[in-house]
């Protein structure tokens, strides 16, 4: 992780490929009904969708945290860097360079911010000096964390906690970060700030991102590619720019009406035209 040299993106082979996975919770609840997606090396890809669409489940299926919630991938395959990762523990996966930043930050509340960051280096074996260097690097990306390094993470602000969570993931020297709802509960200005840093990390460190977001507007501005999930299925995918221009996306996710304003009568008789689901 040197600040200047980013690896040349090898676009030919995706860093992550999810093929038609199905996830069942508690042996009965079918949550994902065949989701496929891929993330190019060095890319930022967004999974978009409303509450309960299956964004978090998709990310957890990849990072193998599903098991802790009694979820199970029953069909399909997940390849990270060309290798099947289904049977690996989260620990091994982090070691290989794929780490998840969970929804709702999940900082270790009673640990100091710096201790939080250091836990991210748990799987590393390359010595204290290299870890120190990376800590310094995280502080460069998140100067605010340096000021709060000794405070208990539980008492820091939401934005600082999100930064701590991302910084903690960075400490594992990931090739890829699965970022779940980074905008949750943050002021618009902070959301912008967090996404700027994500973009910077992507440019400068070559970290690939797969992010799950409800904030379609912001996500599509920073991501290069997007998938839209509805009740456990991918209903639309495409280049971020194309998605931003798409009428349906505009109407359902960006809150921009089509031709002119709708009259009240239109709204009353409004029926969702999910063309792609028919």
């Amino acid at each position: 992780m040197t600040p200047t040299t980013a690896p040349v993106p090898d676009t030919a082979k995706p860093i992550l490929a999810v093929n038609n996975i199905e996830v069942i919770y508690d042996h009965v609840i079918l949550v994902l009904k065949g989701v496929s997606l891929s993330v190019p090396r060095g890319g930022i890809t967004a999974i978009l969708g409303a509450n309960g669409a299956g964004k978090t489940t998709t990310l957890k299926a990849i990072s193998n945290l599903l098991h802790a919630e009694r979820g199970e991938v029953t069909k399909g395959s997940i390849l990270f860097e060309g290798q099947e990762v289904q049977s690996l523990s989260p620990n091994t996966l982090v070691r290989r360079g794929c780490i998840q930043v969970m929804e709702g930050r999940h900082c270790f509340g009673h640990l100091s911010v710096e201790d939080n960051l250091m836990t991210g280096a748990f799987t590393r074996k390359d010595g204290a000096a290299a870890i120190r260097d990376d800590l310094e690097l995280v502080y460069q990306y998140f100067p605010r964390l340096r000021e709060r390094r000794t405070s208990q993470a539980g008492y820091t602000s939401g934005g600082e906690q999100q930064m701590t969570a991302i910084g903690r993931a960075l400490m594992s020297r990931p090739k890829m970060i699965l970022l779940d709802e980074p905008s949750m509960g943050l002021a618009p200005q902070l959301v912008e700030e967090i996404f700027e840093i994500v973009k910077k990390l992507n440019d400068e460190q070559g970290v690939s991102f797969l992010l799950a977001e409800q904030n379609t507007n912001v996500a599509l501005r920073y991501a290069k590619y997007g998938y839209i999930l509805e009740s456990g299925r991918v209903v639309l995918d495409g280049e971020a720019k194309a998605l931003r221009e798409n009428d349906d996306v505009k109407e359902f996710y960006l809150g921009v009406g089509g031709e002119g304003r709708k009259s009240f009568r239109d709204v009353k008789h409004y029926k969702r035209r999910k063309r792609w689901l028919a």
Binding site: P90, C107, G154
Partner: protein, 319 residues
């Protein structure tokens, strides 16, 4: 008036009349307090890192002490028997993780608690099968623990301090300091604390549950051995020792389940208070043997005022 006087005045008058005796009482209390604190510490560590209330902590004390004495009986030199016992405790930790904890991961707390009762029963059986059920004498002098006593003469009276008690206190202090340094400064210690704070997040950053669990149960095993040696030196090694684990409960309620400091302060406080209460109030007023219930009463009172215990972790909640 008479009874009020005997409750509120007479005991304190006695304390001032014979300060040397009072010191003796406090010292005795302190020594048992150290033991309570050690046992509570074993509970706290396991609870912090896995939210399991480890009912087996008491039997682990007995098992460790039995193994130590048993090995010595079979001709292993005392100083070699200690590391060997630690090896046994390590494999016990590995076995518990593999056989009990791993299959039960993500089950409700109460199931894990029941599983530790199972571990208790298993260890009782195993211990009796291998080492026999009769009482044994701790190999105190063989371990190089001095057995004499010092006589001190403060306030013109005299206080007798057994050297093995001093060794116990010093040993416990060293153990606790080492543990605190380990928890706060080392990578593994940080991971243990992280796991206690947020299980899921710990998993997500790649902290390996099984490694930490084995580690924590092994540390609990080390503490159990230390407790076993000290308690065994005072009262012999027998399965009756297991019940001192129950004494750890009021200590935990007093100190809080998640707090290392709480376990230590709670242990010392209960040890000293119950002794002082017994001597100055219990024996003259209540017919003695108050040590059997005093700690629980105290814990109950504390719970009424501070449900999380004196040092329990405040739940940090942002609104």
């Amino acid at each position: 008036m008479e009874s009020l006087h005997s409750i509120f005045v007479a005991p304190f008058a006695d304390m001032f009349a014979a300060p040397d005796f009072f010191l003796q009482v406090v010292w005795e209390g302190l020594v048992s307090g150290v033991l309570y604190a050690l046992i509570a510490l074993g509970f706290v560590l396991i609870y912090k890192s896995s939210r399991i209330f480890n009912f087996a902590q008491g039997i682990m004390v007995v098992f460790a002490a039995l193994t130590l004495v048993g090995l010595h009986e079979r001709g292993v030199p005392a100083l070699l028997a200690v590391p060997l016992t630690l090896v046994v405790m390590f494999f016990l930790a590995v076995a518990i993780e593999r056989v009990v904890l791993r299959p039960l991961v993500n089950q409700p707390d109460i199931i894990l608690f029941m599983a530790t009762i199972g571990v208790t029963l298993f260890l009782i059986g195993l211990g009796e099968t291998i080492f026999g059920g009769e009482n044994k004498v701790m190999i105190t002098s063989e371990l190089g623990i001095p057995t004499g006593s010092w006589i001190m003469e403060p306030f013109g009276g005299f206080v007798s301090i057994e050297q093995k008690d001093v060794t116990a206190v010093v040993g416990a202090v060293i153990l606790v300091v080492a543990l605190l340094v380990f928890l706060n400064k080392s990578k593994m210690g940080r991971a243990i604390r992280a796991l206690g704070d947020d299980h899921q997040a710990a998993l997500s950053v790649g902290i390996s549950l099984s490694t930490i669990w084995v580690l924590v149960w092994f540390i609990a095993g080390i503490i159990a051995l230390a407790t076993g040696i000290v308690w065994g030196a005072r009262a012999g090694v027998s399965f009756a020792l297991e019940v001192i684990a129950l004494k750890a409960l009021p200590v935990l309620m007093l100190g809080g389940l998640e707090s290392v400091t709480g376990a230590i302060v709670g242990g010392l406080a209960i040890g000293i208070l119950e002794k002082v209460f017994e001597i100055y109030w219990g024996q003259p007023l209540l017919g003695g043997n108050t040590e059997a219930w005093f700690a629980y009463m105290l814990a109950l009172l504390v719970l009424l005022v501070r449900p999380q215990g004196l040092f329990g972790e405040k739940i940090i909640e942002r609104v």
